[in-house]
Amino acid sequence: MEHYHMNLTLKVWRQKNNKAKGSFETYKVKEISSEMSFLEMFDVLNEQLILEGKSPIAFDHDCREGICGMCSMHINGQVHGPWAQNTTCQLHMRAFKDGDTIVVEPWRSKAFPIVKDLMVNRSAFDRIIEAGGYISVNTGNAVDANAIPIDKKKADDAFMAAACIGCGACVATCINGSAMLFVGAKISQLALLPQGGPERESRALNMVAQMDKEGFGNCTNTYACEAQCPKGISVANIARMNKEYIGAGFATEEN
């Protein structure tokens, strides 16, 4: 692959902590290789800032392989930047050209308060899982793994839903700040598997209740979440969640 170098202008959101007022700062970076990842470009900028005696930009990242879900930048108006089905850490600089200006912000959502600069607090997602995103099976309780055959199609669909990395881009890109795609993916995964059966109803009710409590917005079917999800999680999961939720509602009334 041919590579090239570029000079760029960056406008980055800086905010000292959760209480402070934030604002954009402008930086210039030079001689950036098209082979770098977007976060490596940030590494270069941070090294430069430290040597200039300035404070480096705080951002979340860990695996840099698109799987941990930690990285979370809003780049030129798009969550995780311009590439489809991609995380910030997997975005590479060949997506940009010499002279570009790039605007970088944190996730913006009521339920994800800013921690510092580009870092946000996504612990609301953990609390939603706590509310029911599991199968209640203690260690040692399991039957033989092949005792219950599972239809391959269902297993595959469960896997596709389970591929969610919990990054929160769906929330950040949604005009309503809805977490339906994230929640729908987990509810679907467990509803598709026979092991998830016994707790289907309480799971759907409790997870949705927690989601509302955390201050996530409603879904108005704009489907921005699916379009921007780095793992291609399908909105069909939202439909399945609604079905589970309504079904559970009826079931409780009947009881």
Binding site: P56, D62, M119, A145
Partner: protein, 656 residues
């Protein structure tokens, strides 16, 4: 040092141990507190299982959620001796393969237990809703991994670690909801607190506020992962570090076989100085991909343009019995050998090809056959074959394309070995207890089961074995005697003293205000380690490395620049503390590598090789675990745990 291996026949030891171990009754469990540092497969499975038993668990991780621990990145799969494929697998065979794969430098009793519990792991994970790959009949699918001749690897596309971790994470979150586990996110353990030499808690730093916190408990479990990042470039996540283990080491926990590092043969090669990490291309790819280099040196043609007869499939040539599926250490050295000899490919010439063209055609023909078509045109066969390959490895191919900008369905991948895993770690006995009473180490953080080389798909197995099925028993055996000791008060002098030392160290780092960044020191350390303590090592290089690391350490502590304040979120400060520990660890790794004048597994001493360049062990002099005791600044004493092999008699490992 007492390894506490139970008496009796190898295959009865664990059963026997479990039958006689001390128990804690349920009402007492509620009064006992356990700290679990780390929420990867080892930590999450331990925290969940201990919470279920009724202990009060406090779990810590430095990421913003326990679900993001580095285990999430594991790709290829997890082994278990289920023998679902009826291809001759058994607990014994998994045990045997692991001891042999580890080049006879692991403890047989631990490995046997690992093989025994492996089957329960798969059951547990399926019950949690882990969506493993399945066949059309609805049963679980398996694949092969390097170093074995059976199919015992369970997988979820190329995201096995993610799915296993999310299973364990959900089990932890369930315990959080039940009030049995308290989760401390964005917290870094800074030190372990000892009272009368016994681990009674930790000092942790809240990474958001910068505040130090003291936490007391009746036992502390370190599940903090491996230290491959000592090489700067590795396949590990950016935050993976040795800090927790290292601080424990400096408090008295011996460090086992620090120089045993796994260099994984199939990673995307380095592209330039800006590189911050390396990306693994799962070993499962070697099931279908063929590794080769051009027969001609410095061949600049594209891989797809080099005709069959001008290719050297060097693994198939050198190791006809295992071919592309030789263990990792063997495959890595073979790649280095070809590149050093001038046959490397790509711009840097430090890469070999991993080619799927044959597999694509083979699968395409099978698919055509299933449809009953015998005269399908080549291009349609290829299209069908690509679909099959995409189903098996799609996410890996995508990752490769994103990073390199090349399409691996059309062109062979370029790969090169990279640091991946550390077999070394805190020395533990059969109960996973370190040499500090009350302090345990699980998962990659301990040295235990993999000897000098880990077989693929065995780390996930070990992490979950330790957490789900071993520690619930062995910890109970210790805690049974702790019931008389009430809650541990974190305001005792020992806690205050430790906290003060931690604060002083942090303030010292900030006060240096030198001229060089933390990153620049880390890169320099990595280069020394890779050049002199990497894939090939020799006495002269190791001695040089030790001198270089000592001066690097002095320079770090006088000239590093750590920006920002102590009482705020300060990722540079976190990194500085970790790099300071890596520098010290690097020195010990070189000392250990220098001491071990034999080659074994991933540790290749150039002075000790066979005529055809294979690793040559020296069982007469080195059949021991090197357990290093820290004696102060740059001073260590070596303790040896002699290894005896009752069942798997050491032979020269051969995969030919």
């Amino acid at each position: 040092m007492n390894s506490k291996i139970p008496q009796g026949e190898m295959d009865k030891k664990w059963e026997d141990y479990k039958g006689h171990v001390k128990l804690v009754n349920p009402s007492n469990k509620r009064k006992l507190e356990v700290i679990v540092v780390g929420t990867g497969l080892a930590g999450a499975s331990a925290a969940a299982s201990l919470g279920e038993l009724g202990y009060k668990v406090k779990a810590f991780c430095f990421q913003d959620s326990p679900r993001r621990a580095h285990s999430i990145a594991a790709q290829g799969g997890i082994n278990a001796a289920k023998n679902y494929q009826n291809d001759g697998d058994s607990v014994f065979r998994l045990f045997y393969d692991t001891v042999k794969g580890g080049d006879y430098r692991s403890r047989e009793a631990n490995v046997h237990r690992l093989a025994e519990v492996s089957t329960s792991i798969i059951d547990q994970c399926v019950a949690q809703g882990v969506p493993f790959a399945r066949e059309y009949g609805g049963l679980l699918s398996n694949r092969s991994f390097g170093g074995t001749q059976v199919q015992r690897t369970f997988y979820a596309a190329g995201q096995t670690g993610q799915q296993l971790l999310l299973g364990a994470y959900s089990a932890v979150e369930r315990q959080v909801a039940l009030g049995n586990v308290t989760m401390y996110r964005r917290h870094e353990m800074e030190d372990v607190v000892l009272i009368d030499g016994i681990a009674k808690g930790i000092v942790a730093r809240n990474l958001v506020t910068g505040e130090l916190e003291r936490h007391g408990a009746h036992a502390v479990l370190l599940c903090t992962g491996g230290y491959g990042n000592v090489f700067y470039l590795s396949t590990n996540a950016m935050g993976s570090n040795v800090t927790a283990a290292w601080r424990a080491h400096k408090k008295g926990a011996f460090f086992g076989n620090p120089c045993f590092t796994q260099i994984h043969p199939t990673c995307i090669p380095v592209s330039g100085d800006h590189q911050s990490k390396l990306t693994l291309m799962s070993e499962s790819l070697r099931n279908d991909g063929r590794i080769w280099v051009p027969l001609k040196q410095a061949d600049t043609r594209k891989g797809s343009e080099i005709p069959e007869e001008e290719r050297d499939y060097y693994l198939e040539r050198r190791y006809p019995a295992f071919g592309n599926l030789v263990p990792r250490d063997v495959a890595s050295r073979a790649a280095k050998e070809r590149c050093d000899a001038g046959y490397g490919v790509g711009t840097t010439k430090m890469a070999v090809f991993l080619d799927f063209a044959d597999a694509i055609k083979r699968y395409g023909r099978i698919e055509a056959g299933k449809k009953g078509i015998t005269d399908m045109p080549e291009k349609d066969i290829v299209a069908l074959g690509k679909d099959v390959v995409a189903e098996k490895y799609g996410n890996l191919f995508e990752m490769y394309a994103k990073i390199t900008g090349e399409n691996p369905y059309e062109m062979p991948m370029r790969i090169y070995p990279a640091v991946h895993y550390t077999m070394g770690g805190l020395w533990v006995d059969y109960e996973l207890q370190t040499t500090i009473t009350g302090l345990y180490a699980l998962g990659e953080a301990n040295f235990s089961d993999h000897g000098a080389n880990r077989l693929g798909a065995s780390a996930l197995m070990q992490g979950l074995a330790d957490g789900y099925f071993v520690i619930p028993y062995t910890l109970g055996n210790y805690l049974a005697d702790e019931i008389r000791n009430g809650a541990v008060d974190p305001n005792q002098q020992a806690f205050l003293d430790t906290e003060k030392l931690v604060a002083e160290r942090i303030n010292k780092l900030l006060a240096i205000k030198g001229t060089k960044t933390v990153e620049s020191f880390h890169k320099r350390l990595g280069k020394i380690m890779w050049d002199k303590c990497g894939m090939a090592r020799n006495a002269e290089g190791l001695k040089q490395a030790i001198t270089e690391i000592r001066s690097l350490k002095a320079e770090f502590w006088t000239d590093v620049r750590v920006p920002g304040e102590v009482n705020e979120m300060n990722p540079e400060l976190d990194k500085a503390g970790r790099v300071a520990d890596f520098i010290e660890l690097g020195e010990l790794m070189c000392i250990d590598a220098l001491d071990r004048e034999e080659s074994c597994g991933g540790h290749f001493r150039e002075e000790s090789q066979t005529e055809d360049g294979e690793a040559k062990r020296d069982d007469a002099n080195y059949a021991y675990v090197a357990a290093w005791e820290n004696k102060g600044d740059s001073e260590w004493a070596l303790h040896k745990e002699d290894l005896s092999f009752e069942i798997v008699k050491p032979t020269q490992r051969s995969y030919k």
